[in-house]
């Protein structure tokens, strides 16, 4: 077959289809999202039935795939690193109970982090969960490791983790697709309560079996660290790396003219680490440099007296191991001239909500109505509401509603409670917001919950949400609406409004505030409903005006700073605001922001 330019995530998707995966589930999250998307886009290349779903959250996704594996079919679940925290409960038990058909859990880590709330290392999670984990160095290897993982999973009847990082997921490489395997499996669940429903009585034995399997897996010949031998000029010295750090290292030592001068090991499976490898490093080397992202997982298991790495302090413990950082580390380790100090990291322009984003309108109104409010928010595009001063906390999926309640109970003890306005996206609400909402209601918190309903999972590129009635792949399914869920959670103040209608939206916010402060008050929910303007259908359905700024502008910067639309900027002298017509979508929601009515809109000719 012809080579194709594939993103790492697409390569993994090809690997899943080629390995005969029949059930694939995921909750979107950067940098993992494109994996399931590519499975859906390429489902026609599968030769056997292939079911895929965007699940409501990672725990659900994991459990759906797990049961499918009990029937003997190959299955996969995909998530980002913090998604594994959500799926931790079934993930931990699965290590003991095992699987039947091959099960691969693909967890994409985000060293840096680039687009996450932390840079936790899934390999360390696997060490604590006792789950084998593979660490690919390139998109091509990530694809190849999918079938390795399935084979390992079926040989030992264990869940296996594939851990790509952002630089694997979002890299592209020319890769040759191959023909899918035809496994011809029929669902056949063999009942075995001592395993699938194992009570504590059966668990010590299952745990013992797991530990025995891990010992065998650690010495699997195909998964031993690979050595590129040096010529002996750096005696008793070795470089050990895994993941993208290994690839960076290969290019670096090539640049430095050190290729084939020093022993270089690639660790394919950081856990369980091969005991033969550990022994050989202890016996044959005095000094070992270990390069891995993000936590010292190999280094911990090596326990080598001559180890140089994150624990010894020679390798930075935080952030990505960029080629520049690796150059400094390797030069230090080998006594080479230190590279010129790389310029400190500069972030450049910060991201913003898009021009015309309905969230901006909602945040602006919230901040206007309650200048002294407390604003817990959540994970998604709308985190960027912090640019408008309308987001005070961001923690993890669904946390904002519980945090809002926590703020309420702490302030309430002292009497004077500021207005607490929580903002949560529609997808996040379904993911983890509902239990928090029920809890806030029954614990009698008095908070305003604004559900920012833009009818999509916008941050990750527009995956379907439960209230739209569209399944993965676009086919129709039952829609589960937000309003009845909110009412069934015991909420008695529920309103819906388009935040583009500033006047009506602010009136409802004030009504909600009066409600939560009234004797019978409780949780008030306001659904801020307007489609995401990244969706072309939304953009086409709303009127677009020619928005300009006339000479009444007094240069107060309110539209530029407080409203923060990327299509508004100051002229080169800083005297007047102007509209960048390349970026303006003509929504006109900035008009009421101007104190002197200098922003005007006209019908487009």
């Amino acid at each position: 077959m012809m080579k194709e330019l594939l993103m790492g995530n697409e390569a993994i998707a090809c690997g899943l289809i080629e390995a005969g995966c029949q059930v694939a589930t995921a909750y979107p999250g950067t940098p993992s999202t494109e994996i399931l998307q590519a499975v859906i886009d390429r489902r026609d290349t599968a030769i056997e039935p292939l079911y895929s779903e965007w699940s409501v959250n990672e725990k659900v996704a994991f459990e759906v795939a797990l049961a499918a594996s009990y029937t003997g079919k190959r299955c996969a679940v995909v998530m980002k690193q913090v998604g594994l925290n959500v799926a931790a409960d079934p993930f931990m038990r699965t290590a003991y109970i095992g699987v039947k058909g091959g099960m691969v859990t693909i967890v994409a880590d985000d060293p840096g982090p680039h687009s996450s709330q932390n840079e936790q290392d899934t390999r360390l999670f696997c060490l604590q969960a006792r789950v084998p984990v593979l660490d690919p160095v390139s998109p091509a290897e990530a694809k190849a490791m999918v079938s390795t993982a399935f084979e390992l999973s079926e040989k030992y009847e264990l869940n296996v983790v594939l851990r790509p990082t952002t630089r694997i997921c979002h890299s592209r490489q020319n890769i040759t697709p191959t023909s899918p395997l035809k496994l011809a499996r029929v669902a056949d669940f063999q009942r075995d309560p001592t395993r699938w429903a194992a009570t504590p009585a059966f668990l010590p034995q299952l745990h013992r079996k797991l530990n025995a399997s891990l010992e065998q897996i650690a010495v699997e010949p195909a998964l031993q660290p690979r050595l590129i031998e040096g010529d002996g000029s750096c005696a008793r010295t070795a470089l050990v790396a895994s993941g993208i750090a290994y690839s960076n290292l290969v290019d670096l030592i090539d640049d430095l003219g050190l290729s084939s001068k020093i022993d270089l090991y690639q660790v394919l499976m950081p856990y369980p680490l091969s005991p033969t490898f550990v022994r050989s490093l202890h016996e044959n080397y005095d000094r070992v440099l270990i390069l891995e992202e993000t936590y010292p997982v190999i280094e911990l298991q090596l326990a080598h007296a001559g180890a140089v790495g994150k624990q010894s302090g020679a390798v930075p413990r935080e952030g990505e191991l960029t080629p520049d950082i690796m150059h400094q580390v390797v030069a230090g380790f080998l006594g080479l001239p230190a590279p010129e100090e790389a310029p400190g990291e500069r972030r450049g322009q910060r991201p913003s909500l898009c021009p015309g984003c309905p969230h901006r309108a909602a945040f602006y109104s919230i901040k206007q109505c309650f200048p002294k409010g407390i604003f817990p928010s959540d994970i998604g595009c709308y985190t960027l509401g912090m640019n408008l001063g309308a987001v005070n906390t961001v923690h993890c999926m669904g946390a904002c509603i519980s945090q809002g309640a926590g703020f309420y109970h702490a302030y309430q003890q002292d009497g004077d409670v500021p207005t607490i306005v929580v903002t949560i996206g529609d997808s996040t609400f379904f993911h983890a917001g509902i239990p928090a909402l029920i809890n806030a209601v029954i614990q009698q918190a008095r908070i305003i919950v604004v559900i920012l309903d833009n009818a999509t999972t916008a941050m990750t590129g527009g995956q379907p949400v439960p209230h739209m009635g569209v399944a993965a792949g676009g086919q129709p399914t039952k829609a589960v609406a937000i309003e009845p869920l909110v009412r069934a959670s015991g909420v008695e103040f529920l309103e819906v409004c388009d935040p583009y209608d500033k006047h009506a939206f602010e009136a409802l916010l004030l009504q909600a505030d009066a409600y939560i402060r009234s004797p019978e008050g409780g949780v008030a929910v306001l659904i801020s409903r307007h489609g995401c303007v990244m969706d072309r259908k939304v953009l086409k359905s709303q009127e677009s005006f020619l928005v300009t700024i006339n000479d009444k502008c007094i240069g107060c910067r309110k539209c530029v700073d407080a409203f923060e639309c990327p299509a508004l900027l100051m002229d080169s002298d800083g005297n007047m605001a102007l509209v960048n017509q390349d970026r303006c979508i003509g929504c006109g929601i900035c008009l009421p922001v101007c104190p002197v009515d200098a922003i005007i809109k006209e019908k487009k000719s």
Binding site: E4, S247, E340, G348, P351
Partner: protein, 175 residues
């Protein structure tokens, strides 16, 4: 042949598409290629950087002072990304001001064609005209035809030709 290229801009400017076009040319030639891209939060108008490494490399990332070519769609990114370039590297900038480096007002040209996002291919055209890249105009056109949605192919090619021919869409045939 080995070449290391950076493509720098802000989210929404078509950095990813430009990166893919360059990488696709390498694929079509049968050369190994690796790219690294920015996805996620930064795509909402923040600074984004793509790297392309053509030839025998293991990693898609580029060390400071190693890039052969820099394509900058957003001038303000100079201070963030210029240090990736070699001293002898070629820098091409989308800008309406005349300062250091090779500049072209790609956004204005693209706006004339109907969409400011097309500045990415205008800049690519200029890079090919300056023979900064490993590839030819014909190869880029083939890759654009492969990757652009059918109804935008002609518009994309027109933008590329504008950069290639300094505003003269017919100049390709004269080269």
């Amino acid at each position: 042949m080995k070449q290391q290229i950076i493509v720098s801009g802000i989210g929404g400017q078509g950095v990813l598409f430009l990166t893919r076009v360059i990488a696709q040319v390498a694929v079509n030639r049968g050369m190994p290629v690796l790219t690294a891209e920015t996805h996620g939060m930064a795509q909402r108008g923040g600074t984004v950087l793509s790297t392309v490494k053509v030839g025998d490399f293991a990693s898609p990332l580029i060390r400071s002072g190693q890039a052969d070519v820099g394509l900058l769609l957003w001038e303000a990114n100079l201070q963030v990304h210029a240090s990736l370039l070699k001293n002898s590297g070629v820098l091409l900038i989308n800008s309406d001001t005349a300062e250091k480096g090779e500049r072209i007002d790609a956004s204005a040209i693209a706006r004339d064609l109907g969409n400011a996002v097309l500045s990415n291919l205008v800049l690519l055209g200029l890079a090919v005209r300056r023979q900064a890249l490993f590839c030819s105009a014909e190869e880029c056109q083939a890759a654009i035809r492969q990757l652009a949605p059918a109804k935008f192919v002609e518009q994309n090619l027109a933008a590329f030709h504008k950069g290639l021919g300094s505003g003269d869409a017919d100049s390709l045939t004269d080269r």
